[in-house]
């Protein structure tokens, strides 16, 4: 039974790892800060969740297992709130999100001089 659990835990950890790779790939490939935040919050959270679950299954005691799940929960809250904080700050700094309609507008178009 313990051996089976150890195998199951290792399998969960192995399944979780590719999500970190995919998250990092998204960080490199996605076009702007907002899209990159998507990759970081969602893929990494899922990867960490699977790894923590895998470690919790293999943990020696219930308290240790609970600790792994707690780590995941805190990371979930932190990454989710952090993503909105970064996105809101980027927006306030004037970085417009890149959309297919305006593929090259990394920054807002320069303001035309207004006649006084």
């Amino acid at each position: 039974m313990t051996e089976l659990l150890a195998w199951f835990g290792s399998a969960l950890v192995l399944i979780g790892l590719p999500f970190f790779v995919a998250g990092s790939l998204g960080l490199v490939r996605f076009p702007d800060v907002y899209a990159r935040l998507h990759a970081l919050t969602k893929a990494d959270t899922l990867g960490l969740g699977l790894i923590c679950l895998g470690l919790a299954v293999q943990a020696g005691s219930l308290a240790a297992a609970l600790k792994y799940l707690l780590i995941w929960l805190l990371m979930l809250v932190a990454s989710s709130i952090g993503a909105t904080l970064i996105a809101a700050t980027a927006l306030a700094c004037g970085i417009t999100p890149r959309t297919p309609a305006a593929p090259t507008s990394e920054r807002p178009a320069p303001r035309r001089p207004t006649a006084r």
Binding site: A43, A64, A83, A87
Partner: protein
């Protein structure tokens, strides 16, 4: 009134004790430090407000949130690994329909970051500005469904619908 206060204290002490037990990995010697810390923390925690999760709704909500997070991770991982990056990225404004101002809105704004394809850009008085990584026709509908679920979680659905 005092009964409710005692109940709140009992909940806090139990939750904090459980937390300490997990943090100290069940080491019995750690309770010498833990007990005073738990009592002081319980005393410093803000009093329970009117905003509270409904227990039954929370029990059904938790698996749903985990499922959404799983799908979110899978979707973004799939998009990142695709050979051709074809993203239909948009910024949409989602007008609030049920949730009144307060913690419920903040909760939805934070949860959206874990849900497939959405990222909260800004919270405003009457709308939520959402960055959608890959737009689908169902996106506004899924936001509405999520808001309805959160309204039920906080128990605000009925009286808001009764008085639009």
């Amino acid at each position: 009134m005092t009964g409710r206060r005692w109940q709140a204290w009992a909940w806090r002490l139990t939750a904090l004790a459980l937390l300490w037990w997990a943090l100290s990995a069940g080491d019995p010697r750690a309770w010498a430090w833990g007990l005073p810390v738990i009592v002081v923390t319980a005393g410093l925690m803000p009093p329970p407000g009117a905003w509270r999760w409904r227990l039954l709704a929370a029990l059904t909500f938790l698996p749903h949130a985990l499922w959404l997070s799983l799908r979110g991770g899978l979707q973004v991982a799939g998009l990142a690994c695709r050979r051709q990056l074809a993203l239909d990225t948009r910024v949409i404004e989602y007008p609030w329909q049920q949730l009144p101002e307060g913690p419920a809105r903040l909760f939805m704004a934070s949860l959206l970051n874990l849900v497939p394809g959405t990222l909260t850009l800004r919270l405003s008085q009457d709308a939520l500005h959402v960055h959608v990584l890959h737009y689908q026709d169902d996106t506004p509908g899924s936001l509405r469904r999520l808001e309805r679920r959160i309204a039920r979680l906080y128990g605000v659905a009925q009286h808001r619908e009764a008085s639009p």
